[in-house]
C-alpha cells in the first residue's frame, strides 16, 4: 500500500521546505522535492504543514481503574486528534503500574485498541506510596521507558537516593513530579496576588524548587538520568540551568498551559484552571517561554489529566487538579506563542517531536526514509473551537473550552494509517 503526500510544507531536518512524502505500508519510503511515482492514494497537502507526529512524554490515560475519566480508546483518539502519534502514559492508574502484569496489560490494550503508540512509564515506588522501590527492572523487560511517581513525590530523600541509584543501574530515566508535601500543604493555587485576592491557600514555587534542588543533587551523586516534569517557576529553571552547566544528566519539560496562561486565569474560580504545579505569575510564564526558546527547557509535554465533569463541577478547593491536554495543546501554543511572534514554528515543532523523543531515547519525532510514517498535517490558517460535544476525550476539563484557537490538525498518520481526519467545519 503506497500513499503519497503531495505539496506539503514539510518539517524535515530541522527546517520547513516543500516536499512530497511517499509512504509504503507503515514506513516513510521516500521524501523528495517532487515524487511522481504512482500511489494507491494521493493526499493533497497544498497549503498545509506536515510535521513529524507529536510525541508526548506525559499523559494520564486513566486506564485501568478510572475509565469514567478516560480510557485507552478515548485517550488515544484525543491524542491523535491533537496530532500525537506517540504518548507516554503515567502509572497512577488503579491499580498502579508498578508491576509487569500492568505494563503488559497496557501495552496489549494500546496495541489492540489504540489510535497512537503508547509507551508505558512505571512507578518509582510500589503503589506510589514512597515507601518501597518498585520492580523497575522487571517492568523494563515489559517495555517501560522510564519510571515516575507522577502525581506523587517521594518525600524521603534516602529512599529517593536508592531509587535513583537503582534506576540508574538499569539505565532507566527517573521522571519527577517535584512537590514538597509540607510546603504545598493543602494549597490550591500559586502564592501570588490572585491567591491573596481570592483567599485560596497556596502552593508556593518553593514546594517545587526544594525537591528539584534535592533531586539534582541526587542525580549528581548517582549519575541517574533525571527528567523534571512540568517545570513552572523561574527559580526552578535557574536550578536546572546550574545542573546543565555542570553537565549533569538532567532534562525538563513544560506544559502548554504553563506556557500560555498565568495565575490570572484562576480569578473566576474556574476549576479547569486548577492544576499542579499551579499556573504561576506572568514573570514565571515569561521565564518558561525564554527557557523553551533557549533550549534550557528540552521539550513540551501535555500532562493530559482528564477529570469527569462532576468532579470538576465543585467548589474550587474540592475539585481535583489537572487539565485536559491533548486536543488544545498545539492550537493553544500556536495561537498564543507562534502566531503572536513569541516563538518560532520550528522550535515549537521541535519541542513537540524530536526533542521529547530524545529525552527518553524514543525512536520517534523525525521524518526520515525508513522510519515509521508518523505524520501530522496541520492547517495553520484554520481555527478550531473545542466544545463539550466535539472533544474526543471523555473529559472536557480544559480552560480552552469554547474559545476559538488557530492551527487545526487536519490529519494524523500513525505507522502510515490515518488515525485522525478532521471533517471540514469540525472542531
Amino acid at each position: 500500500m503506497k500513499k503519497l503526500i503531495k505539496n506539503g510544507t514539510v518539517y524535515y531536518q530541522g527546517a520547513f521546505s516543500p516536499k512530497d512524502i511517499l509512504i509504503e505500508d507503515d514506513k516513510v519510503a521516500a521524501i523528495k522535492d517532487r515524487i511522481d511515482e504512482p500511489a494507491d492514494e494521493v493526499y493533497e497537502a497544498q497549503g498545509k504543514y506536515v510535521f513529524p507526529g507529536f510525541v508526548d512524554l506525559h499523559c494520564h490515560l486513566r486506564d485501568p481503574g478510572q475509565t469514567y475519566k478516560e480510557d485507552i480508546v478515548t485517550g488515544t483518539k484525543a491524542a491523535a486528534k491533537g496530532g500525537f502519534t506517540t504518548i507516554c502514559a503515567m502509572p497512577n492508574t488503579e491499580p498502579v503500574v508498578d508491576n509487569i502484569a500492568s505494563v503488559e496489560y497496557l501495552e496489549r490494550r494500546a496495541k489492540d485498541l489504540g489510535f497512537c503508540k503508547v509507551r508505558v512509564i512505571g512507578a518509582i515506588t510500589k503503589h506510589l506510596e514512597g515507601k518501597e522501590i518498585s520492580e523497575m527492572a522487571t517492568m523494563q523487560e515489559g517495555g517501560i521507558v522510564a519510571v515516575s511517581d507522577d502525581g506523587h513525590c517521594v518525600q524521603n530523600a534516602k529512599l529517593m537516593l536508592n531509587c535513583m541509584k537503582y534506576a540508574g543501574n538499569f539505565g532507566l530515566p527517573v521522571i519527577i513530579h517535584a512537590e514538597d508535601y509540607n510546603l504545598a500543604g493543602k494549597g490550591q493555587i500559586h502564592s501570588g496576588k490572585i491567591a491573596t485576592q481570592l483567599g485560596l491557600s497556596t502552593i508556593p514555587p518553593l514546594a517545587e524548587e526544594v525537591i528539584i534542588a534535592r533531586d539534582i543533587m541526587l542525580a549528581e551523586n548517582t549519575k541517574c538520568r533525571l527528567h523534571i516534569a512540568h517545570v513552572s517557576s523561574a527559580y526552578a529553571l535557574e536550578l536546572i540551568r546550574q545542573a546543565k552547566d555542570k553537565g549533569l544528566p538532567v532534562t525538563c519539560e513544560v506544559t502548554p498551559h504553563h506556557l500560555t496562561l498565568n495565575e490570572e486565569a484562576c480569578v473566576k474560580f474556574d476549576t479547569n484552571t486548577k492544576c499542579k504545579p499551579p499556573l504561576r505569575s506572568e514573570k514565571d510564564r515569561l521565564a518558561l517561554l525564554e527557557a523553551l526558546k533557549s533550549g534550557l527547557i528540552d521539550c513540551i509535554a501535555t500532562d493530559h489529566a482528564p477529570h469527569a465533569d462532576y468532579e470538576k463541577e465543585l467548589e474550587f478547593d474540592r475539585a481535583p487538579f489537572g487539565i485536559n491536554g491533548f486536543e488544545a495543546a498545539f492550537a493553544s501554543l500556536f495561537t498564543l506563542l507562534v502566531d503572536k511572534g513569541y516563538l518560532t514554528l520550528e522550535r515549537l515543532i521541535d519541542a513537540l517531536t524530536a526533542a521529547p523523543a530524545k529525552v527518553l531515547g524514543l525512536k520517534a519525532g523525525v521524518i526520515e526514509e525508513g522510519l515509521p510514517a508518523d505524520l501530522t498535517v496541520a492547517d495553520l490558517k484554520e481555527t478550531i473551537t473545542l466544545t463539550a460535544e466535539n472533544m474526543l476525550s471523555k473529559s472536557k476539563n480544559t480552560p480552552w473550552l469554547n474559545i476559538p484557537l488557530k492551527g487545526k490538525i487536519v490529519t494524523t498518520f500513525c505507522d502510515g494509517k490515518i488515525t485522525w481526519q478532521a471533517e471540514t467545519q469540525n472542531g
Partner: protein, 312 residues
Amino acid sequence: MQQGFNFINRCLFDLDDYSAEEIMYILEAAKGMKEINLREYKKIPTLRGKTVCTLFVENSTRTRMSFELAANRLSADVVSFQESISAIQKGESLQDTVYTLNAMGIDLYVIRHSSPGSPQLVHKYSKKPVINAGDGRHAHPTQALLDIFSIWEKMGSLQGLKITIVGDILNSRVVRSNLIGMKKLGAQVTVCGPRTLMPGQMEEVYGCKVEYDLKTALKDADCVMGLRMQLERQTEGLFPSLEEYTKHYVLSKDTIKWAKKDALIMHPGPMNRGVEILPEIADSSQSIITEQVANGVAVRMALLFLILGGKA
C-alpha cells in the same frame, strides 16, 4: 429606582461588584432600616411572599441569625439549611443541593461556605440572586458593609480616614472585603500582624499599607479594628503562643494610645478577650463593637430589600 441605581436580582459576591455610589446608597437604605429595628413592632410587610434560603454549609450562628432576623423583619419567608444536619454531610454536591432547593422556589440565597468562590457556584446553578455571607478566606461583604456603615454613622464619611486592622490578616475574609469597600469610599487602610499571618503582595492587590509593628500601624489611626486570633494557627506553626502574640499585637489601654484620641474601636466578633483585645478596650466608650452587631441586621435588611425589590 432612584438615582438610576438598580439592585434588583443582583448578587453580592464581594464589594467589588458595587460602585462607591451604590455602596453609599445601601448605607442610606440601612439607616432607614435601623429605624425600623428601634420600633416596638419591628416588622414591615415589604417582602411578603418572597422566600430567602440561608444556605450555611459552614456553621455560623450569629451571621445566620442576623440574616434571618433581617428577612423576618421584612416579612420574607426564611428556610435554613445547615451543614451539620444537611445532605452535604452525606456527600451531596453543592450543585445537587442547589438544584433541590431551587425546585422548592427559593427567591434569594444567602450562603456561608468554607470554599472561596462557592457563592458564584450557587448563582450559576440557581440563577437566583446570591448574597455571600462568607466564603472561606475570600470575602464577607455584608460584614464589611456593616463595618463601613458603623464608621460612616459615627464619622460622617470615610474619605481620608486612617483605618488600621490588626491580627490574622491571612485567614480573614473580613479584611479582604473591608479593604475593597473602605478604599472605594476613600479611606486609607493599614493592615498589621505578624509576617506569618500576612498574605503576599497586599499593597499591590489592595493598595493598602502593611505594617508588622503595632505602634507604627496605629499611628494617627481614626479607627482600629481587631481580628479574632485563633488558637489553631499556633498548631499550624504560624506563631509560637497566644501569650507572645498578645505581647506584640493586643489592643489595650496602653497600645490604643498610639492611635488618635477617641479612635473608634471595632471587632467583627467573636472576640477572644485577653488575646487580641482586652476588656478595658472592648467595653470602653470608644468601642462600637455591639453597635456593629445591631447595624448588621439593618445592613442586611437593606440588601434584601433592594435586591428583592421590596416596596417602601
